[in-house]
Symmetry: C2
Subunit: 351 residues, 2 copies
DNA sequence: TTGAAAGCGATACCAG
DNA sequence: CTGGTATCGCTTTCAA
């Protein structure tokens, strides 16, 4: 590890290329932007100069001259799910900052679990008004096809939270949900102190992220914690009321529940039940997503751990990724990797 | 949550201000940059126009015109500590990307725990050659004073990993180490399955981060886990060999060690001991920082959990923060918050 | 104390 | 096919 020497050779510009290649600025620009109407020999000359000088275009200057605006669109489900609301708030927050950085954010909502609404919006987007779209929604063949059509029209597309792996989207922004489920299971197994049964509260069978978490959880439970048995499952549809109404029934039927894995949303109903019901005192509870509700539950000890993904990071990453895709520029993979966050009562971020 | 309407009123420019205020471009610029030689009445007129139009300066254009270069410096300890090496690698990686974004990164190293070397470098930095400095090093009054002098000379300063809270640095980039220690203790208490003693391996008494972790760990241990007793402490000086040589002695003297908290660096020695010594089979081990070494130990089950901070995030954040400070622009606090990461064998990032 | 005009690095229109 | 030149939004001499 040596101290860096500061070599400050001035960066070559288009003017330098023009001079070295013996052509005009306009021609350099044509070659640079692969515009037609330049003889092959001329192209060669210019490219040679570019290579020789090690030229790299100054994107800021180019965007200024071009009066470029990045027009991005976010499509989210219309729901009172706190995590989605957090994503939405981050979009709003970034909107403000980006206004002065040649970037406009548009927001569209679809009814939850409505693939056709997603398809309609995707199909309505044109390069005339939009450079990139980031979507969070159901995974169906029709959505996949609409994504592919948008891509073919030249629009950058990113999936958020729940992927659409069979599509040709530019990028997926979110966590590995199988690993997230496995992590939840590992924590569960190590936190629980006696043998018994585990209850799972899932969301919807249409959501790939929920299914993947479940698969990961089950796998680790089966392999590493034979003394624990995944006994019952509630399909909560992210609905606190529904969850709240189903829980008492399950607890009556299953006497030996020692852990609950809430793999989806709608934690409000679960928390209400846990804080009322005395028979569930010692149950280890692990849920997903850090929100106001889950944060409080974790602080109080109602929840024992939270598996989460940073909504701010997801939105900022989506913006960077879509911009890069629009400019056909590479991304920084490390910066765009969304972490599987583990929160305990002691490592909560300050409010 | 409503879909956004796309209002596209064109952003006002300096020309608009000049026109509305009835002055020239040059005068607008003088006011904008608080340069002298403008009558108060004129300043008023311009400011009024700015407010009326809601003008916000286009930083990219300004930087272009100004031929601005952000010249940033990183000062790190010269050590074979893997975490520091990771920071260093991130600096190198960002250097590449930033070369074409008007930003040069310089790197300086100091001998570990050598406040005077840090002071010398800080004192040698001038606004002629540097806009901002990010430092990671010992916390002493002399360093604090040097930081304050640099600040007063107009240089932006950020502390990384270990703070210098009594200084007037612009920003601290790192985690709350007390909370990190508390988190480690909580995991320890919940993972350990029988009463016993806990061994702590610390680093140096000169490092604020190590002390803070220790304090947080002890507090939670004492309050929440009375069946566990923090019994022994090894001061490892981040040195694997030293740690490796001390461990057998400690284990001979203390028969009931059920957990080890490695709060600093030098994990190599610890791992070697654990993988050889059979008496430590069931000991719960929690360490800091995700590195190649600790990652392997976690995968193998030698370590049970890791508390970490993202080195890539730290470096990127330092760059953004120093740039903003240099331009006297606000930062996005959420984006700059470094998380206390918890890693288990199941949520390791892909290689 | 103020203004006119020439850039910064790149793009784009209009001639030739 | 190729070149000249105005322009993007802002800064910075140089004169007045």
């Amino acid at each position: 590890m040596k101290d860096t020497t500061e070599l400050t050779r001035p960066k070559p510009t288009v003017n330098d290329i023009a001079r070295v290649a013996g052509v005009s600025l306009a021609t350099v620009d044509r070659v640079l932007n692969a515009r037609p109407g330049v003889r092959d020999v001329t192209i060669e000359k210019v490219n040679k100069a570019i290579a020789e000088l090690g030229f790299v275009r100054d994107t800021a200057a180019a965007n200024l001259a071009r009066r470029r605006q990045y027009r991005l669109m976010f499509i989210l489900p219309e729901t009172d799910n706190e995590f989605v609301i957090a994503l939405d708030a981050e979009i709003t927050a970034q909107s403000e900052r980006l206004l002065h950085q040649r970037t406009r954010l548009k927001r569209r909502t679809i009814p939850p679990f409505d693939p056709q609404a997603m398809v309609r919006i995707l199909d309505s987007v044109t390069t005339q008004d939009t450079d990139g779209v980031a979507i969070f929604g159901p995974e169906t063949p029709s959505v996949r096809d609409a994504v592919n059509r948008a891509k073919e029209r030249g629009i950058a597309v990113a999936t958020m939270v729940s992927d659409l792996p069979s599509s040709i989207r530019d990028h997926f922004i979110g966590i590995d949900n199988v690993a997230a489920g496995r992590t939840a299971a590992l924590l569960m197994g190590r936190f629980v102190r006696k043998a018994g049964r585990i209850l799972i509260v899932t969301g919807s069978r249409l959501a790939r992220d929920h299914l993947e978490r479940r698969a990961g959880f089950d796998a680790v439970m089966a392999n590493k914690f034979p003394n624990l048995e995944v006994a019952a499952t509630i399909e909560g549809r992210d609905d606190p009321e529904l969850i709240g109404s189903l829980l008492p029934v399950v607890f009556e039927k299953n006497s030996e529940i020692v852990g609950i894995y809430s793999s989806a949303a709608g934690n409000g109903g679960l928390i209400e039940f846990l804080e009322k019901d005395t028979s569930s005192r010692d149950v280890v509870v692990i849920a997903h997503e850090l929100t106001q509700t889950s944060r409080t539950a974790l602080s109080k000890g109602t929840f024992d751990a939270l598996i989460s993904q940073d909504s701010g990071h997801i939105i900022r990453s989506a913006i960077r990724v879509l911009k890069s895709a629009a400019d056909k520029l590479p991304i920084d993979p490390k910066q765009e990797r969304i972490r599987i966050d583990v929160y305990l009562s002691e490592n909560l971020p300050p409010l």
